[in-house]
Amino acid sequence: MNVFCFALFTIHCSLFTEFMETVIKTKDLTKRFGDFVAVDKITFDVQKGEIFGFLGANGAGKTTAMRMLCGLSRPTSGEAMVAGIDVYHHPEQIKKNIGYMSQKFSLYEDLTVLENIKFYAGIYGLTDKQIKDKSDELVQKLGLQNQVNILVKSLPLGWRQKLSFSVAIVHQPKIVFLDEPTGGVDPTTRKQFWDMIYDASEQGITIFVTTHYLDEAEYCDRICIMVDGKIDALDTPSQLKKSFNVDNITEVFYLLARKAKRSDN
């Protein structure tokens, strides 16, 4: 009986550890451009499968921070580990383990829906068979059977965003970075998009998302608010509302962002 209990306990612990894997870890991460400190000693970690919201006014340092975590920009000082990889030594390796989607660049507008899926799946290293299977799966899931040969530029924005997200996770990365993925999209499509985010999180994909829609901040497991390059708040949405004694995240944001000195790049 004791051996049995011990075995259960060990299995439980290993599952727990598996579940609690840290996929992003930073310590005093800093980026300077000359005298300007864009990101000022930020320290935080993100667990596997978390939906982690990254908020802040324009100019607060969010994009700069995200670029460092994606291996696109070398930090000035501090430490950062993404998907087990050190951002200083192997930035190229990071790119293989992450997905990325932003407003400014997501899909090739002059390629069709199917061409985009195949192209990205190929770049992320999927085999021919995997590419075929994934393409079929994606098209079915998004209901794009009649649009596979349509140029992406002819798709409405909401459909493009959903396709873009699916393509960003086609290789089941550990982490997907979403830079304002739902800008300009109507509420229903935004909610459908967030359903897709929940699904991905349940599959163990960690979601790192920035947004200006503060109702979306409520969908995150934890959120972090950056002001003037520093992290001014980091907690679950409900804890943040409690500690600021307000009933929505917009109010939290105002209270913090109002004292910001920077409103510009």
Binding site: D186, H212, D215
Partner: protein
Amino acid sequence: MSAISLNNITKTYNKGTVLAIDDISFDIEKGEIFGLIGPDGAGKTSIFRILTTLLLPDKGTATVVGNDVVKDYKKIRGIVGYMPGRFSLYQDLTVEENLNFFATVFGTTVKENYENIKDIYVQLEPFKDRRAGKLSGGMKQKLALCCALVHKPEVLFLDEPTTGVDVVSRKEFWEMLKRLKEQGITIMVSTSYMDEATLCDRIALIIGGKILSMDTPDKIVQAYPEKLYAIKSPKMHQLIRDIRSNDSILNCYASGEFIHLSFKEEGKDNETSLKKYLEDKGQTDIVFKPTTPTVEDCFIRLLSVNSEQRIVNSEQ
């Protein structure tokens, strides 16, 4: 005389195969802030382009301050300000150069009209020698607004002016719009932010080229047909799935920290049977209460009723 008037406007693309605007008529009074709310592809930008004389309608007529958009297009161009979707100014010109350019194009100077834009421009002035492309999102929109106002227009057309702009800058932007309204400028604005819809005097919900609802935000909300409820539990991601699998549910979607839902039929047992159903699925600590619909709830409802239209639009 209305400031803006559309009468039976229809617009198609691709030799008539794509119906972008389907027989739309409405009037906007002077000094109104009128919001056009709708999903991508609904026809909002086409409406803006027709009213700013950049696009010809297939059928119907429209006037801006009494001037016909086809016959009197030159006159209209001198009296309207237009901010098209996303940033539209010259990225390589500085803030000051952009402003001077637009003032000149309209046959005036910044100096002559400084009073009109002073409120907004004072925030940009410290950056007047910075190239427009290097400004943050919020600053870009302020500059674009100045350029649209520099010639003292009577009507302002703003196509999604706050997309991509942070919450604090958006609030400031709308405060500026309120001050412009007080000066008698008529403003027609489209937005995807539902909280901004409530700041308009009247709004029109547009889907698939048709206007489905047009009234003050308050009246639109009062017209919501079913009772709406809010629910939450410690397992939110699972909760939405559990609710959707229940046959008695009409609509269900995430809304901030709650999920909003409505039942197919009202009944006093709805709450208890739903709670039991959810508890059987492993949900605990369920919070369930009635909630007042918002403009977003109205929009989502209208959109779900008209979802066929969206499929048609997306095949364009």
